[in-house]
Symmetry: C2
């Protein structure tokens, strides 16, 4: 059984302002819940249509599928929903390589980029303050359990680049052919907004503009989706450590 006030609390967490107000967010699906829990994230409450054995009994509330549907952000709810405390803000750890996002707005793109960070061992993701919130349910849907292992920081990128010493590589439609560049192991890769690209104020901090050349003859494609472009550029930066 889930109470009305619990339903109200959880549905409010679909919105960022209430996630901040309550210091909570939620994830769905037993496997993903287990990944967050296993990575040390603190659980507030867990609602499940099945018995769960990996968290203390007091935290688990068995509910019906109809109740789950009321709190889920998914069209087809996935057996369990867990409410976790938002993590405490930590300073950015030292890194050799990181990705910075300048105003990424699409939750699917954001989730995919977090998943890529996890795959490629990028521990910190640096985001401008207008980038979509990583605890948005749609971001979590796309990132699967990866957010449990990637620290996402929201900050003033201009201020950060001003002080930081690492070279910043920006993805542009008209940049140097990335396949012909010697990419350093220590760097930041900056990806711009889906429509507007990298903002003029950040462009001044770039060491180099890079581009994935288009191979089609007719040059009609608008641009690669930002998540696709991130996957290719991230792969380019990491292949050098493998050669």
């Amino acid at each position: 059984m889930i109470s009305k006030s619990q339903i109200k609390l959880i549905t409010s967490l679909h919105q960022k302002k209430y996630r901040i107000k309550h210091d909570l967010f939620f994830v769905e699906g037993t496997k993903v819940i287990q990944e967050f829990y296993g990575a040390g994230w603190e659980i507030y409450a867990l609602f499940s249509t099945e018995e769960i054995d990996f968290v203390p009994d007091g935290k688990v509330t068995l509910i019906s599928e109809i109740e789950l549907k009321k709190i889920s952000a998914l069209k087809t709810p996935n057996k369990a929903l867990a409410v976790f405390f938002l993590p405490t803000k930590k300073p950015i750890e030292n890194f050799n390589f990181s990705i910075a996002l300048d105003g990424i707005r699409d939750p699917g793109n954001m989730g995919t980029i977090i998943r890529l960070c996890d795959w490629f061992g990028v521990k910190s993701l640096l985001c401008s303050k207008d980038t979509v919130d990583c605890f948005n349910p749609k971001v979590l849907q796309a990132s699967m359990g990866s957010l449990a292992r990637v620290e996402v920081h929201y900050l003033d990128l201009e201020n950060y680049f001003e002080k930081n010493q690492l070279p910043v590589f920006g993805a542009f439609m008209e940049g140097n052919n990335v396949y012909r560049e010697k990419l350093p192991r220590k760097a930041i890769l900056l990806m711009g907004n889906e429509g507007k690209g990298i903002s003029a104020k950040l462009e001044t901090y770039l060491s180099k503009k890079i581009s994935i050349p288009q191979f089609g003859v007719e040059q009609q494609t608008e641009s690669l989706n930002v998540a696709m472009a991130t996957s290719i550029l991230l792969s380019e930066f990491h292949r050098s450590t493998e050669m």
Copy 2:
């Protein structure tokens, strides 16, 4: 004004069996419509909330936003919807490089892969018969106008690989590190189903299994999404032509 029978026809085209029955499919958004039209696709009818000047007058029906909502597959309809004739089946053109898909089911992944083919100049996409239909409205939403320029063939891949001479590279979790492989310019890249990977019957035709190494230390990520993996592997095959 749109008639009831037109509404019935267009909504039926959301389903594959009616697309085949009527030999029609539809795309949405003026820009995408223009890309198909400009690439020589034959238009059956165009419904728009605004004047359209790039197709003959007789083909355009001005409709209200409410009418557009009735026929659109989008949550937020995009000004225009055009019905095109399905293309006539053509033989597969000779190619140096192509991608083959073994049972890709997610329309978003399929659309993204078509968009990648367009970017990287892959003219023919070879799909097993259980791969999602490329004229599915959700595929078209993800592929944007790219399908206008990429030929998608549905065929018996086993039969095709049996006769074809090009080496086939298959994407596997446990394959050779792709960054350390010398990739040929003439090849087929085979990508497997989202859950099951490449089927056993096709595995026997592989020249080599390749893999994108995971850089995260803890090795907890399930796998890269198939569209992400395709973007990286496609980039690896094409970078050699750029070096």
